[in-house]
Symmetry: C2
Subunit: 182 residues, 2 copies
DNA sequence: CGAAACATGTAAGAAGTTACATGATTAC
DNA sequence: GTAATCATGTAACTTCTTACATGTTTCG
């Protein structure tokens, strides 16, 4: 019974906040919510078209400069209902958390494998970089407490992403430490 | 440049440990590695066929009872090389961690939204159940230290999954607590 | 004897990625 | 002027899920 096509709901959720173009939505995926869902413009534009056909959203054309046209999408009442339904419905499935690195570890069966240390080093660097980047964003976006209250959802997901990276890093370092002792 | 079709490498990795049927592999996805990659039998059987055609693996038929036939696959030298290449190559991309619940939170912009408490309750229950299940598995599979040494990869991914769930739960409870204070 | 587990496949469709395709505007 | 960014779309392909399809063996 669980709802599909989550991309639809994400787009509706974004438009519920403010009117956006397909390009804007693409940028939001790259920045704010990319930690928890990814979508390319080639998926976003057709989905916007379908949502418009289904009367969940509508758009008006705006002109930038003298020629460039853009479609500013807004959510309709039907779209808002659809969105509320999705949010209110229990989230029963925990979706796949694909992790290529962890799988590689799984196939290394000996603690003494030479490659394992280098692999940990690489991953630690990657996750440290990501964590640094997330922390910087949090600092920039939520300078004051007011900004946190005004955009609680955004605050929560950024905080969760930071928490996740911190946990991952701690685990990596702990395992690396265990290796060096043995 | 990053390698694709990770399912191939996972299957090769599994066969590198011991010979398996398509059914065995399906079960392993449901149990051991489902936390980090999912695949249904409808994806596994065609992939086994392709791997065999590409000469990375081979199979021999075995009969169960008097009629039921099964294909026992083993990895070939070419397959081992392919697998080693994948493992040794740096894992540069961090794949999508889709999380429907976190996205729903993102779209709730007010801390005072009535639904938010119920949503946290549900998620906490789900993750507690999952954590319990993982801990039980660790207890059963790794009773002795010898078992850990003999199957270090398996130990690592189980430990990582537990760690991940613990972190998620702590975050959920912390946020829930914050809500009740305000 | 009946249900659960074993065992293998294919077909249709949804979801997601990469590449193709084009052009305008802005900032340096 | 030129590179980065803004802006929108489609085509081809891969990946993944759901459903279809069938039959055997084992356990209680």
């Amino acid at each position: 019974m669980s709802k599909k096509n989550i991309l639809r709901y994400i787009i509706l959720g974004l438009l519920d906040k403010k009117e956006l173009t397909g390009y804007d939505i693409t940028k939001i995926f790259e920045q704010e919510i990319g930690e928890f869902w990814k979508a390319k413009h080639s998926q976003i534009y057709p989905e916007l078209k379908k949502l418009e056909e289904d009367q969940f959203i509508s758009y008006k054309m705006e002109t930038v400069g003298s020629k460039l046209e853009k479609k500013c999408y807004t959510i309709r009442e039907e779209g808002k209902r659809e969105l509320e339904e999705w949010i209110s419905e229990p989230t029963r499935e925990l979706l796949a958390n694909k992790d290529e690195f962890i799988l590689k570890l799984y196939f290394i069966r000996e603690e003494k494998d030479e490659r394992i240390n280098k692999m940990f080093e690489e991953q630690i660097l990657m996750h440290e970089e990501k964590l640094e980047h997330l922390r910087l964003r949090k600092q920039i976006v939520f300078k004051t407490n007011q900004e946190k209250e005004l955009n609680y959802g955004h605050y929560l997901i950024l905080d969760h992403a930071i928490n996740r990276e911190e946990g991952y890093l701690l685990w990596l370092k702990e395992q690396q430490n265990n290796l060096q002792k043995s």
